[in-house]
Structure formats: structure tokens, C-alpha cells
Amino acid sequence: MLRLVVRRLLQLVPTLLGLSVLLFIWLNRLPGGPASAILGERATEAEVARINRALGLDQPLYVQYGRFLKRIFELDLGTSTQTGQPVWDEFVLRFPATVELGVAAMLIAVAVGIPLGYLAARKRGGWLDVASVSGSLVGICIPVFFLALILKGIFAVNLGLFPSYGRMATGLDATSVTGFAVLDGVLTGEFDASWDAIMHLVLPALALSSIPLAVIVRMTRASVLEVLGEDYVRTAESKGLERKTVRGRHILRNALLPVVTTVGLLTGSLLSGAVLTESVFSFGGIGSFIRNAIDARDYPVLVGFIMFIAMVYVLINLLVDLAYSVIDPRVRVH
């Protein structure tokens, strides 16, 4: 087990190195640079040249790349050209919001998706099955930002049940411990802050959960259907085992294997969905920051973020493999 973890972590090194080279080439092929984004429509040619010189953007690509690599080894992601603050600080400030949103969305997707998929399979052809299959199709088809706009229009603007934007109520002076607003409220005993953060999470998390929820419902349903037809389920049932045992140990446990892989991969992709959802709700996470970073050609932020996502993907894959070995002990043998 330890060897697996170490090997996977070591795989990160060439992955990130390769990615950093590709990224550098890509970013530098994009038209424009940060200088005119910093100065806006007031920039003159001389001013742009001066800023480029000061930022070292007039130097050859390999020099810039070398400087970047050196910084990475020093565990320094550089400074955001948009905000003039260290990229790391900006990430620490914003990632908890996005992670919180992603976790909430995933919790909704898993908590609703797995039971729904299971029930749909068990009641194949029934109304619940038809509803969940067609519902999940709609969930996959509707773009996340569109759903976010609809949810916001109905539940925030018209009904006023939830806040229409942001992560916390205006002026709410909550103590920050971990940066995760819901958790911080619990840790510090400021439960009103936790509640407020949850209220702000509901609509964006619902919107963001639409695709993973739909995928999980379909995956679980298909997987349970497959397992239901297996001999060992029939055997277990004919042996007269308790229903609960057959459902839990024989059907769900086996059916969940492919679902776990899917959940893992979906978790990574949630980050990209978050960019749009956060923008609709002006949620102070990494999503809108990255969108602005693209507009502003904020290279250090973009490189840092994409590298981070790559790292998350590798780590999630590792976690998925570990989860596999818990659900299906045979994996450990191989």
C-alpha cells in the first residue's frame, strides 16, 4: 500500500514538469500580455514596453521558464499580475470556498444519486426509473451556468429564499480558522455563520451538482442492473440471506466499484464547472478569480492553478485506487 502511494506521488514530478513546459508554450502563444490588461485603454506603447521590461516579459521564453522553475523549487508560485499579491496567498484565500462548493455539490450528487440509481434499478421500468433516467438526461444536457441562472432567478430573485450572490452575508464578521466557512462556524461556535454559509451554498451547489448527480444516477443504475443479474446475487437470495445483507454486501458493494471511479473523476471536473457557477453567483472562490486571470493574462496564476488541478487529479486517482481496495479486497491482491 505504501509503495503504491509513494510510486503515485513520484509520478507527479514528470507529469507536472511536462505540463509546465506545455503551459508555458501555450500561454506565450496567446495574443497579448499582462501589461495592457493592467493599464486598460489608457495604455500607450511606451508604457506597455516599460511594464514588460519591469516584469521580465521581454526576455526569451527559456529565461522566463527557467525563472519559473527556480521559483517552483523554492515553493514560490510567484505574484499575481492582477492583484499584486503572492499567488499562493490568493489561492489560500479562495480555494476553501471552491472546495466547500465542490464538496457540497458532490455530497448532494452522491447522497441523492446513489440511492436514486439503486432504486431506479430495483424498480426498473417503474415511474421512479423513468423519471430518474429522463431527469438525469436533462441534468446532463442543461449547461451548468444556465441551470445556475434559473435556480437563482426562481429561488433567490423571485422567492427570496436564498441569497442571490456571495459566500457570506454582508458585514458578517465571522472568525476564520480554516477558511472553510461552514466548518469555521462549527469550530468557533458561531453557528449563525455556518448557517449563513450553508444558505449561500445551497443554490450554487445544487447547480454544480447537476452533472455529477445525473452521471452517478445513471452509473449506479446500470451497475446495479448488471449486478442484479449475477449468479452470486441469485445464490445469496436463494440461500435465504437477509434482504439487508444481500442489498448491502452483495449488490451495492459490487455495484459501487465503477461508481467510485466516476465520483473520483467527476470531483476533478467539478473545479471547471465551478468557474461558471461561481461567476453566476459571484461566489468568492477560485473560479471567478481564474476567469479574471485569463482575461488579464495573469500567467503566474494560470500556471499555478493548472498545475494545482493536475496535482488534484493525480491525488484523486490515488484516493480512488485506495477506495477500491477497501470496497473490493481483491484489488489489493493484484
Partner: protein, 556 residues
Amino acid sequence: MPIFKSRAVRVITAAVAVGLVATGCASERGKGGDKGGDKDTFVFGAPGDPGSLDPALASDGETFRVTRQAFEALLEHKSGGSELVGGLAEKWSSNPEGTVWTFNLRKGVKFHDGEAFNAAAVCANYDHWYNWTGTYQLDAVSYYWRKIMGGFAKNEDPEAPKANYKSCTAKDDSTAVIEVNEPSANLPGGFSLQALAIHSPKALEEYKKQQATSKGDAITYPKYSQEAGTVAGTGPYRITKWNKGNKEVSLERFDDYWGDKAKVKNLVFRTIDTEDGRRQALQAGDIDGYDLVAPADIKTLESAGFTVPTRDVFNLFYLGMTQEKNPALKKPEVRQAIAHAIDRENIVKTQLPEGGKVATQFMPDTVAGFSENVKKYPFDTAKAKSLLAGAKEEKLSVEFCYPTEVTRPYMPAPQDIFELMKADLGKAGINVTPKPMKWAPDYLDATEAGSCDLHMLGWTGDFNDGFNFIGTWFAKKDKQWGFDDAKVFDSVNAASKEADPAKRVDAYKKANETIMEYLPGLPISSSPPAIAFGKNVNPPNVSPLTQENFAEVSFK
């Protein structure tokens, strides 16, 4: 199955409970749009985050919108207007040459940190900026100081202009004298800029301990400019918190303020990036006002009972023509043909909010120096065709760049405006190749480098002086226009060096007439940007310079 049934019941019960609690919470939260009386916090939806809490380091409107409530300059603009009035200086005067500026300062003014405001504090600020070194000398950091005062005590960049600032002397506690080397059109208007607002000397000392750096790929802004605590001005509000995670800057009424105290105790600026998002937040009652209202939303909001005042026009939107890129545009007849081909009246009528005007020159009619006698180019397709024929350019083809995903106060819907212009040009026989581009940095880079035949841009004035408009474009050669015409440049520069205000206005009029004779591009329109407020809000006087003073806001 009973298990599932009972679970389902439990889930539904829980959902209903959550719904009920949520409804209760929402009503407690209060609907800013229709509940008033007891409110002591005014929340304004800003389109973007501020960049710094020290306005001297900034050049963007979002920063100034926040800092303006906390910092005051020597001069200000009349509430709701563009006329210069006393700010921290009650009165001001200059010598006839316009090189010595004397300010009689207000007495009894206190900074937010308890320090007293006096002439020494004024000089400490000006000397602080003048002595900036290193990173602070970059345009990105000291944009406005460089624009208004030229360079620094010791210019580190050989290309930087010579400093125009000479000295500041505290003649006595309430008299400060600022001297410059040469008269400048940027004065006295420049003394009103937020970037030159006065900070507490104690805060300035703290600033010096936390320097900006430009190591590696970017400029790192000093810590004090990113966290409330150190900065201290004299304004009606003091900045208490910048919660970047929640995209919110909080300000609190400053009870020792020398003038009329703010009517609302707390003022919060919250960033909502999208136009729709801001409108919906206002409709939902989550905010009490917002800026950059889409012209299409004005009627909807007004009919729902919101207040949507439009500001007086103080901007200019133009069609740029780049002569170096397309040699045909060097011919005056071709430029005139383009001007005659475009139905500007129609653009104003269909694309701009009410109050928009067709522009006849490169400044709005609210700026001193606007001339009634400029050459005009009315919409006339037949004339455009004959001018093109005369220039032997009947088959003229042009590349026309326009920005996407952007709205500017002077240009609400770039793509729609482009479509109208394209159709008009087409009718005159000009073949247009559209080149849509993302606003920043693609479009800005392309226009600045002069790589479009035609493009659309504009400007919102900083203060009421003609040079702030025409000087921006026509004081020297600029790739955006790609022309080098001494007559145009001289007329603009002559006006900028005229110390006598009355004579300067005449010189601007002449410069406008010269420019419109030459026709480097086509001024299209000036439009009044709208701002929206909740139903229970008594809005502040709206400012043509977008310099609203939120201390004037109250709840009904």
C-alpha cells in the same frame, strides 16, 4: 420496502423543514429593496474589486469609488457636477504663469487616525510621491502622478519625462504652496484626483516600511494597501475591513468628519462581476444600489419602482481610423466618406440610454473648450460615395476590429453598434471585414499597436479640462491613429501650455476645429452612464465623473 417509504417521508419532512427555516431566514435578512427605516448599512454592488486601498497606487475607477469615500484631495468637484470646488483647500489661486499654486486649507480637519490636517501634511504627501523610487516609478503603480506631475526627484527610467513638480512649502499651518516648473493643462484639475488625495503623515511613515517590489514576473503591492488598518484619510467614512474572500470592502462613518456627516453608518462595497448578477441582487433586495446598468435594463428597473438616475455626459465614444495600417485612410476624402457614411443619430437613438448625444468633436459638450464651429459630417450616403469615387477608392475594403464580452460606460453594446456601422459602411460601398476580439488584452493590444484599420474606443474624463480628452489622443504621434501631423499636435499642445484659463478654453476650441478639419477618426457619441438604487434609498447626487459621494445616501 417500508424502510424506504419511511425514509422517503423523513427526507421530505426534512426538506420542508429546511425550506421553512430558509424562508424565515430570508425574511429576517430583510429585503433591501423594500424595507427601510432601521437600516444602518448601505450595500453597493460594484462591477469589480478595488486594486488597492491607497489610491495613489491606482488608476482604476473601482479603486477610486471605494477610496473616494475615505480620502479627500485638495480640490473636489461640485456634488453632481464637473465644476472644480474646494476640497481640503477652501480656496486656491495661482500666479499668472500657472506655476505657483497657493492653497488655503480648511481648519479643524482630522485624519481617521487622529492626526491633524495641515499644510505640513499636504507637503508630506506631495513629497512622498515625488520621491518615489524603484517599483513606484512604474506606470502601473504611479500612473496619475506621472500623468499630472511628469517624473520623480530621481528618474530611474531614462525615458521618463522630466518632473514638473518642483516643491511644496507649508507657509503656515493652513497655507500650502505647490510649485511646478511649467504651466500645465493638467492643473488645477489634477489636484482633484483621488490618486493625489491626502493621507495622514503617520500613515505615510508606515507606508514607507512596506515597499512595493517588482521581483520576478510581477509587481507586488505593499501590504498596507491590501488590508485595512494603516490607511487614513479625512473623508466622511473610514475603511475598516477588506474581506477579499467575500469580495467586500467595509467602511464606517467617521464621526469626527469636518463636513456633513454621512447619513448611513456603514457602507459596504461588494463586487458582483456580472451585469445580470448586479441587477438581480438589487431586485432580490440583497444590495441597495449598483453601477454600470445595462441600457436595456433601465426601463424594467424603473417600472419596478427602482431609482435609475442617469449621469450627465462626460465621456466620448469614437471610431478610430489607423492611417499607417491602411494607406487608403491617409486620404482625407476617404476619412470624410466614412464619416458621412455612418448614421450616428441612429446609433444614439437605438443603442444609447436616454440622454445620449451625437458627438461633433473629441470631447463632450460639458467640457470647457467645446466648439460650436467645428466642421460637421452629417449622415449622407450619396456624398460618401462621391467622396470615395473622387479618391478613386470605390472598392475600399477595411478590417474593422470590435471588442466582445465588454461594456464600457461610453459603449454599452459594442457588437450591436458595430453591426450598425458595418451596414452603413456597406451602403456606401465599403466592404467591411469584421474582426471581433476579446477586450483585454487582445483588443486593447491590437488597437494600441495600430493593427486595425477601424476600431471603436472611448474615454471618461478625469476632470473638466479639454486636454484630458484631446490631449490623450492628439498631443503626439500615437500608433492608434498612425498619423504625424504637426498642425494637429501643435494646436493641442499650445492649448495645454496656456496659463490663462479663458485663453486656454479658446485654444481648445481652435484645437477642436483643427482636429475635425483633419478628421483623424470619427467622434460618435457621448452617453450618460446609469446607476441604480433600491426603492427605499434616497440616492446621492450622481456625478458625470462617476464620483458619487455615498455620505449623501440615506434610507427612506
